[in-house]
């Protein structure tokens, strides 16, 4: 499967960027709109009861966070050209706006995804001499 992905999408030839490349590929498989948080299943409820936390409190907190995220995402959704598009089908601007919403999510997992994707892209981009030139950074003194 890894090979199939890599054959579909070539970001860089250099081996050192392989991790970034793979991450971006899998990122493309992420659904734009994850399913809502359903009611707790019995196993989850048992786990909560055993840990001393209130399962109902937890569910309420999750729902509240989802509602906050919904508000955040609603304006964006209204701009989408078609139902359930994939990320790579979006324009650059919409893609950026969508990622930005993940960075502002109430959910740590979504924010972590934003941060990881951002870090990978930035580290890759700003390791490059041509990008340094674009930002006026002279780079190492050693040649």
């Amino acid at each position: 499967m890894e090979e199939r992905f890599l054959s579909l999408f070539r970001l860089e030839d250099e081996e050192r960027f392989l991790v970034v490349q793979k991450t971006l590929l899998f990122f493309d498989e992420v659904d734009l709109f994850p399913a809502r948080f359903g009611p707790l299943v019995d196993d989850e409820r048992r786990l909560f009861d055993a840990s001393g936390y209130s399962a109902d409190d937890f569910a309420r907190r999750i729902e509240a966070k989802l509602r906050e995220d919904e508000k955040l995402f609603r304006a964006f959704i209204s701009h989408l050209p078609a139902a359930s598009p994939k990320f790579t089908g979006l324009s650059v601007e919409l893609g950026r706006d969508y990622l930005d919403l993940w960075g502002r999510s109430q959910f740590g997992t979504r924010r972590r995804f934003y941060r990881s994707a951002k870090d990978l892209v930035m580290i890759t981009a700003y390791s490059r001499d041509d990008v340094w030139k674009a930002i006026g950074y002279e780079g190492p003194l050693l040649v």
Partner: protein, 526 residues
């Protein structure tokens, strides 16, 4: 095939503590000393001033972080340890901190009286040990001409607000001001342990093995006591660019009369945990200190010298005593800068295009001990897990400190001030301030993981010193309360934060213990 060593002293870790101990012991005794290091042996020939390439000098190739991935936990993992990749910022041990440790944790010795002879060892006291370290590292204040624009701006901003600043002391010799201290000094001007104490130790016959993963310490039962007798380790293949190793890759077994763990506040407790070191009071790895820091970013209306010159030369400790806060001037290169800079896409790039006009410094919080913050060796994944979250009181102190940081940056003349954050504050969609009056919105910062970037680099206090085995793991000699012939001597030994950038405190501690040990080695013989 297993390589076997029989030695008097095994030292694990070649950073601020391990190298100083190896040099001190080899100068004062005729003991056979083996020094093992997890990372590679990279020298100035290898340091190419490129952030990405130099990640091999760092733990987890620069990817080490807290378990939730929100706080990068930077640490050197190479010969020289943190002293190879730090910014050469030197702050002496703070006497009041050590006095408090004596009072609160029953520490003995560590006299700050230069006439003291602790443990009946001639001239064994903190000022003498510190003096030795300062001389060997050439610790000194930079001259006026060495202060770059970024540091001058920070100094002027503080002055505008009546905040006192100081000049950092630096362990450098004839610095050329390239600005790449953090990537390893390519000119051997930064006086890390790899080119100072380690060289001394190697000259005196200390054997170094690098790329060496110590899998576990070996303990034997002797009567009612456990005794450390050595370690099982594995030498990895030498990474490209490293000096050659003294043993081939493969398993090694080390027998030693004394084992000294100097792996730092993350690796040391993890090694003890996976070795089955007794921990009857559930202390090992707990109470992690990591000096959480928030970068303050300022956009100026003119080009600056920011990434060239000495990165950090000015700081303020004006709020240390009352609030436990430092402001330290530092500046990163584009990889670090781009990760810290908020936003993505066009907005991010527009900021990065002003790289030459960016000023920066950091707010550093001396955090409180919290048992929930810990380092743990996870047997299932065979990885170190670092759990850390800011307590409510620390969070409040950090808000106040960041607000003041924003005000300082505006006082430098910045036209905009940014925090590495997407958190909405007040009427603002994110903390991108265009007027000093907006600094008050910092009171609303929540420091949400992955939404506000908090950095760290000074891990401490995970194998605490003290005389009470119920509240500490090692005693004032850095000897384990529970295992004979085992010492843990590094930043993990501090009971709480040492109150500042820890390198010089760690080295002073190591020098002190090395001199003490040289005259008390019989405690570990027979």
């Amino acid at each position: 095939m297993t390589t076997r060593f029989d030695t008097d002293v095994l030292i694990i870790g070649s950073g601020a503590a391990g190298a100083v101990l190896a040099a001190t012991l080899s100068a004062s005794t005729s003991k056979r000393i083996l020094l093992v290091e997890k990372g590679g042996y990279f020298t100035s020939q290898f340091f190419n001033q490129r952030e990405w390439d130099m990640r091999v000098l760092l733990a987890d190739d620069g990817g080490r972080s807290t378990a939730d991935g929100s706080i990068p936990v930077r640490g050197g993992e190479c010969v020289g340890g943190g002293t190879t990749v730090n910014y050469a910022l030197c702050l002496d041990p703070i006497e009041i901190v050590w006095s408090n440790w004596r009072r609160d944790f029953g520490l003995r010795g560590f006299s700050f009286d230069p006439r003291a002879n602790d443990y009946d060892v001639r001239n064994l006291n903190m000022p003498d040990c510190l003096g030795d370290v300062r001389r060997r590292l050439n610790i000194h204040s930079p001259e006026d001409r060495e202060i770059n624009d970024n540091n001058r701006l920070f100094e002027s901003g503080c002055r505008q607000l009546g905040i006192a600043t100081k000049r950092f002391e630096l362990n450098m010799r004839d610095c050329i001001g390239c600005g790449y201290c953090g990537e390893g000094c390519a000119y051997d001007r930064k006086q890390g342990t790899a080119i100072t104490y380690l060289v001394d130790a190697l000259k005196r016959g200390v054997q170094l093995v690098h790329h060496c993963d110590v899998e576990s310490l070996e303990f034997r039962r002797r009567g009612s006591r456990l005794v450390a007798v050595g370690a099982a380790a594995r030498v990895r293949n030498t990474r490209p660019g490293s000096m050659p190793n003294s043993v081939p890759p493969g398993p090694i077994r080390i027998r030693a009369s004394l084992v000294i763990v100097c792996g730092g506040a993350v690796e040391s407790p993890a090694l003890l945990q996976r070795s089955g070191h007794p921990d009857p009071h559930d202390l090992l790895g707990r109470g992690l200190i990591l000096h959480p820091s928030v970068p303050i970013i300022g956009l100026m209306d003119r080009e600056l010298v920011n990434y060239r010159g000495i990165s950090g030369s000015i700081y303020s400790d004006a709020f240390y005593e009352n609030e436990g806060v430092y402001y330290e001037c530092l500046f990163g290169h584009p990889v670090y800068g781009s990760v810290v800079m908020p936003f993505i896409g066009r907005e991010h790039f527009d900021l990065m295009r002003q790289f030459g006009r960016i000023a920066g410094f950091g707010v550093l919080l001396v955090d409180s001990v919290d048992r929930r913050n810990r380092v743990r060796w996870d047997r299932a994944s065979e990885k170190v897990v670092i759990r850390y979250s800011l307590g409510d009181a620390d969070r409040e102190r950090l808000r106040t400190a960041v607000r003041r940081g924003v005000e300082i940056m505006f006082a430098t003349g910045a036209k905009e001030v940014l925090l590495p954050s997407l958190e909405p504050v007040g009427p603002l969609n994110s903390p991108r301030f265009r007027d000093p009056s907006e600094a008050k919105h910092c009171a609303e910062l929540r420091f949400l993981p992955h939404q506000t970037t908090i950095t760290s680099s000074h891990c401490q206090a995970t194998v605490k010193m003290g005389e009470n085995p119920r509240t500490s793991t090692v005693n004032s000699r850095c000897e384990s309360h529970f295992v004979d012939n085992l010492m843990v001597c590094d930043s993990s030994s501090f009971p709480t934060s040492c109150g500042a950038n820890p390198m010089v405190s760690v080295m002073t501690l190591a020098r002190y213990q090395g001199l003490r040990l040289a005259s008390e080695f019989s405690r570990h013989e027979g």
